[in-house]
């Protein structure tokens, strides 16, 4: 965790120092629906989090992020009400976003892939696994001003487990604010 934060910090400083003219970095908050994929013991829940946006090249943005999610309590199965809470899924990692550059107004589509450490935990069943997983998806930004974007995206998440994986689709909305850039 400490090593990851250090790497992200260095990346953040390098990018921000080497591109002082345009808005090259920003922060964002997001939240949305957390839909489990083929998981009988979970229902849809919520997810929210924070991210940074760091311009790496003219078409690539790095997005370090942290998120906190929870799936919903399961429905009764074959007449048995499980009465357990949905699992929590927390993650931190980085996505590489192709498109969706800051500093412009209007509609800005993008695609992204990334990796993160995903922790799936359920207090009732004592289930607890953390592993490095991958994610990807599509979305679009609506540039309200050169410094402010509305961020809408769908993110497919694979969180590997002991063997196999837990999967989910996150439908997210959020805001990104950029710093500097002469605006």
């Amino acid at each position: 965790m400490r090593k990851t934060l250090l790497v992200l910090g260095v990346l953040f400083l390098t990018v921000s120092m080497s591109h002082a003219e345009a808005p090259k970095f920003g922060v964002g908050g997001f939240g949305g629906i957390n839909i489990p994929i083929v998981q009988d013991d979970q229902k849809s829940g919520t997810v929210f989090g924070l991210k940074g946006r760091l311009v790496v090249t003219s078409f690539l943005v790095a997005e370090p992020h942290v998120s906190f999610g929870k799936w919903g309590d399961p429905d009764p199965i074959d007449g048995v009400n499980l009465e357990i809470a949905g699992s929590k899924i927390t993650s931190f990692g980085i996505d590489a976003t192709l498109g969706g550059m800051p500093g412009k107004k209007g509609l800005k589509p993008f695609a992204f892939v990334g990796f993160a450490s995903y922790k799936v935990k359920n207090d009732d069943t004592a289930y607890d696994e953390s592993k490095l997983g991958i994610a990807g998806g599509f979305g679009f930004l609506i540039g309200v001003s050169p410094l402010l974007d509305i961020d809408i995206r769908g993110k497919a998440v694979i969180a590997p487990q002991e063997e196999g994986s837990k999967k989910a689709v996150w439908i997210l909305g959020g805001l990104n604010y950029y710093f500097g850039g002469g605006y």
């Binding site: 013991d41 048995v80 009465e83 994610a135 487990q161 196999g164």
Partner: protein, 174 residues
Amino acid sequence: MLRQKSFLRLLAGLAIVSIVAGCIVSGTFVIVADFDFTASGDFYFHRVDITDDATWQDHKDDIDFIDAVGAEFYITSTEGTDVTFNVYVDDYTTGPDPITVPTSASKIITDFTVPNGTTKITYKQSLSILTNLERLKTLAKKGMFDYYATTTGTVGSTFVIDSAKIIVTISASK
């Protein structure tokens, strides 16, 4: 730069396709099986077999791990005092029903107290009182195992297990 862009687009596309494909071939499934007892005195025995369950049949060759194992019991006790309930599991056997708990069995419920009246042990409650989970999950992954219970009650008249279910959550992928 164009080459870089194309490569990244390809990478993004491949990652998304692999995620979507992965979603289709793996998942977490819950199996619920009814569970009844052969009782003799203060001793209960049952051969648990969930292998004929349709969900088990669909995924039996692709089980990655057992997420959780629990149970649901409805018990009626008309004993004058609290009844103490112990449960054990062991490898599946064939042949005549045993009349004692074998030494190789693992105790998964220890001295659970059942008061006079009707008691429901929910799935959630069972998760909090089960022990030796690793052995239980190993046995559950085989789909068949032997179940033993002992009580201080008098079976069939003053202490009755009205119904019971075993609930096994499996993760499977192809």
